[in-house]
Amino acid sequence: MYKILSKRELAQGTVVENVISAPRIAKKAKPGQFVILRVNETGERIPLTMADTDPDKGTITLIYQVVGKTTALMKSLGVGDGYQDIAGPLGKPTHIEKVGTVVCIGGGTGIAVLHPITRALKEAGNKVYALCGARTKDLLIMEDAMAAASTECTLCTDDGSCGYHGFGTDLLKQILDREKVDLVVGIGPVPMMKFVCAVTKPYNVKTLVSLNAIMVDGTGMCGCCRATVGGKTQFACVDGPEFDGHQVDFDELAKRLRGYSDMERQSMELFEHKCSCK
C-alpha cells in the first residue's frame, strides 16, 4: 500500500495533486521518469510521470487530470487512503546538460511533467523560458512552481483570462525569432506537442516531447506502448518516454491513445452509476 499523504485539487477539481509515500522510488527517481500505478485489486495499470520527488521525506508527487474511471476512482481517495501498487521509477530520465537557452512549453497536466525537467535544466546552468498554457485561467496549474523553476515564466490562456491571450506556441515563435534557442521541451496533449514540433522544425531546434502512450508493464515486455519514431517502432516505456519530437508520428500516437475509448466510456458510466446509487 502506497499511502496518500496529501491531496490538493487544482484547476477547479479537474486536476488532482497527490503526495504519496514511496521511499524506494523517491530515492531513485530522476526528472522525466514515470511510475505505473494500480489503484486496487480490480484496477488497470496506468503510467503517470512524476511531478516532483523528495528523497529525504520518501515521497513522490503525482498530478493527474480526471478523465475516466481510473482517475475518477483516484480522486475519490483521500489522505490516509492509498494505492495498492506503484512501480518505478521507469523510463529513461531526461538528459540534463548545459546547452545554453531552453524553452520549456507545457499544456494542461503536461506542465506537471515539465516542472522537474525545467528545474533541472535551470540548475544545470541553462537560461530557461517557461511557457505554461491552458484554455482558461481556472485550468492553469503550478504557476508559482514553474516561475520558481525557470528563469522567466510566461502564462498564457486561449481566452485571455490570464497572461498572454493566445497559444504558447505564438510566444515560442516570438522567442525563436528573437534569439538563439538550443533546446525546446514540449509536453502536453498530443495536438499541442505536434504543433510545438511544427513550429520549431523550420528553426531546426532540437525539440523533446514526452509520449503518454498506453502502457501495461512499463518494462519493455509487452509492446503496448509502441510508437513510430523516425520510421522505426520504439517502446515508449523503455526507449522513452522522451523522444525527438521531429521524428514522432503523432497521428499514430493519437489514434492508439483512443484505442479503448468505447470501453473506457463504459467503465466510466458504470462507475458514475455506482457512485450515484450510494
Partner: protein, 467 residues
C-alpha cells in the same frame, strides 16, 4: 502378473466438452478421481532402471511416487514427489511430459506410456484439496540474506530451496504479483491461478518474502542489493522482449504481441471487464501468428473472449508446429483453424487506425534451414486478404535488456542472454547466479526450475563455504 497389468489401458482424464469450454475460462482437463489414479498407477512396471526418471529435468523418483499411489498411500506419494519438485500441481499441468518422463517410459515403446503427468497432478491436487499441505521443518536461521530477482518458476524454486536451508530470502518482482509466466502468460483454463496462489502462499509460510512492484535495475541495482546486505543474488527475469513481424500496419489498434494480449487477459483479468478495469479488444475474426504453445494459448483465449473465427497463421507446415500435440488437439477441438504455409505481409486499418484486414502470402517448403526444418519459401504472386479485427503476434521473445544493460559486470552472449555456468548457474559477476529463460531463451517451466535447483545448491555452498 505383468500380463494382467498391460490389459489396463492408459486412463483417460475427464475434460470439459469442447463446445462448452470454448466459451469459458474454467480449466479444461478435470483431473483423475482417486480410483482412476490408482488404476493408472497400477500400470507402472516399477522398472529397476526407469527410463522415465532419466527424462525428468529435476530427477523425480517417478516409480517411487507412483508406487505409493498404487498402494493408496497418497500422503507418502506427495512427500516423495515434493522431495524433488516444489511445484507439482503446476508441472503436472504444464510440463511437456510426452518429450520428458512419458517419452522415456518403457510402456510407451510398444503401447501407451504411464500417464505420469496426470498422476503428478492428482497427488498435488489431492494434497491441496484435502488440506494436507504440511510445512517441513526449517533449520535455524543462518543469518545469510539472499535476493532473488524475478518470481517465475526459476526464482520460486531458488527461493524455496534456500529458505529450506535456513537462509533469509527476498524475491523482487517487477509486476504487482509473483508468478512470472505462470501468472501472466499461461491462461486460467490451463493453469488455474488459485493453484499458483496456493503455491506462493506455501512459500510465504516457509518464510520467503516478496517485494512486488520492484523493477530491479531501475529502483535498485544488483550492486545496491549487495550494499543493502544481500550476500548472494539469483537473477531469473525470464525472456520478456516480444518480437514483432516488422510488416506495415503492425501498430494498428487490434494488433498485439502475445505478451500484451495474454498479460491483459491473465494478469489484469481483462476477460472479466468491466468488473476489472483493463480493456482488451474482443475480436470477431481473429488471427494468431505463430504456432507455439504461446500461440495456442492466445488463440484459445480469443475464442473464449467470444470470437466467431480464430485462425492460427503459420508459415511452415503442421510437422514444424512447435506447440505440444495436446495443445494443438485442444485448440482444433475448440474450432480453431490452422492456416498453414501462410505468412502475413501487411495489416490494414480504417481511418481510426483500427485493424480491419490482413494480407497474407502463401508459402511452400524448400530446402532445410539451419534449424533442420524445411525453409518456407514465398510463392510469387500468391497473395490474399482476410477480414481481421484482432491479430496476436506470437513469434517468440528475446532477452529483455532492462536489468542486464544496467549491470555491466554480467557477461551476455550475442543474443543478449546472461552467460552462466551449466552446472551451477554462476555468472561472471561475483555472488550472482542466473537461470531460467534469461539464460536459455524461452524454454520450459521445468527447465527453469531445474536451473533453479542447481543454482540453489551452488548458492548454498557459496553461503556456507565461499565462491
Amino acid at each position: 502378473m505383468a500380463e494382467v497389468k498391460e490389459k489396463v489401458p492408459r486412463q483417460k482424464m475427464p475434460e470439459q466438452d469442447p463446445g462448452v469450454r470454448k466459451r469459458n475460462f474454467k480449466e479444461v482437463p478435470l483431473g483423475y478421481p482417486a480410483e482412476t489414479a490408482i488404476l493408472e498407477a497400477g500400470r507402472c512396471l516399477q522398472c529397476k532402471t526407469p527410463g522415465c526418471s532419466k527424462g525428468c529435468p529435476v530427477g523425480i523418483d517417478i516409480p517411487g511416487f507412483i508406487k505409493e499411489i498404487a498402494s493408496k498411500n497418497f500422503e507418502a506419494g506427495i512427500a516423495k514427489l515434493k522431495e524433488q519438485n516444489a511445484l507439482p500441481a503446476v508441472c503436472g499441468r504444464v510440463c511437456p511430459q510426452e518429450s520428458q518422463c512419458e517419452g522415456g517410459c518403457i510402456l510407451g515403446k510398444k503401447g501407451e506410456s504411464v500417464a505420469i503427468g496426470r498422476l503428478e497432478r492428482f497427488l498435488a491436487d489431492w494434497e491441496r484439496n484435502e488440506g494436507k499441505v504440511k510445512l517441513p521443518n526449517i533449520p535455524a536461521p543462518t543469518g545469510k540474506r539472499v535476493a532473488v530477482v524475478g518470481s517465475g518458476p526459476s526464482g520460486l524454486t531458488v527461493a524455496g530451496d534456500l529458505c529450506l536451508k535456513g537462509h533469509d530470502v527476498t524475491v523482487f518482482e517487477a509486476f504487482h504479483k509473483p508468478g512470472g509466466v505462470l501468472l501472466y502468460g499461461i491462461p486460467e483454463f490451463r493453469l488455474p491461478k488459485d493453484i499458483l496462489f496456493a503455491e506462493i502462499n506455501y512459500l510465504e509460510r516457509l518464510g520467503v518474502k516478496f517485494e512486488v512492484n520492484s523493477v530491479v535495475g531501475k529502483v535498485v541495482s544488483l550492486e545496491e542489493l549487495f550494499a543493502e546486505g544481500y550476500q548472494a543474488i539469483y537473477v531469473a527475469v525470464g525472456a520478456g522482449l516480444p518480437y514483432f513481424l516488422g510488416v506495415p500496419g503492425e501498430n494498428l489498434i487490434g494488433v498485439y504481441s502475445a505478451n500484451e494480449y495474454l498479460t491483459r487477459s491473465n494478469l489484469m483479468k481483462a476477460y472479466l471487464f468491466p468488473e476489472y478495469d483493463t480493456p482488451l479488444v474482443r475480436g470477431k475474426n481473429v488471427i494468431v501468428v505463430g504456432a507455439g504453445n504461446v500461440a495456442m494459448d492466445s488463440a484459445r483465449t480469443a475464442m473464449r473472449m467470444g470470437a466467431d473465427t480464430v485462425k492460427i497463421v503459420y508459415r511452415r507446415s503442421r510437422e514444424e508446429m512447435p506447440a505440444r500435440a495436446e495443445e494443438i488437439h485442444h485448440a482444433e477441438e475448440e474450432g480453431i483453424e490452422l492456416f498453414l504455409l501462410t505468412n502475413p505481409v501487411r495489416f490494414m486499418g480504417d481511418a481510426d487506425g483500427r485493424l480491419t484486414t490482413v494480407e497474407c502470402q502463401k508459402m511452400e517448403l524448400g530446402e532445410p534451414d539451419a534449424s533442420g526444418r524445411r525453409r518456407p519459401v514465398p510463392i510469387e504472386g500468391a497473395f490474399f486478404t482476410m477480414p481481421t479485427d484482432l491479430a496476436v503476434i506470437s513469434v517468440g521473445a528475446g532477452a529483455n535488456p532492462l536489468l542486464t544493460s544496467t549491470t555491466p559486470a554480467l557477461s551476455l552472449n550475442k543474443r543478449g542472454y546472461i552467460v552462466a555456468q551449466a552446472e551451477t548457474g554462476k555468472t561472471t559477476m561475483k555472488g550472482v547466479w542466473a537461470g531460467g529463460d534469461i539464460v536459455t531463451g524461452m524454454a520450459t517451466v521445468i527447465q527453469a526450475m531445474g536451473a533453479g535447483k542447481q543454482a540453489a545448491a551452488s548458492m548454498h555452498a557459496y553461503l556456507t563455504m565461499g565462491w
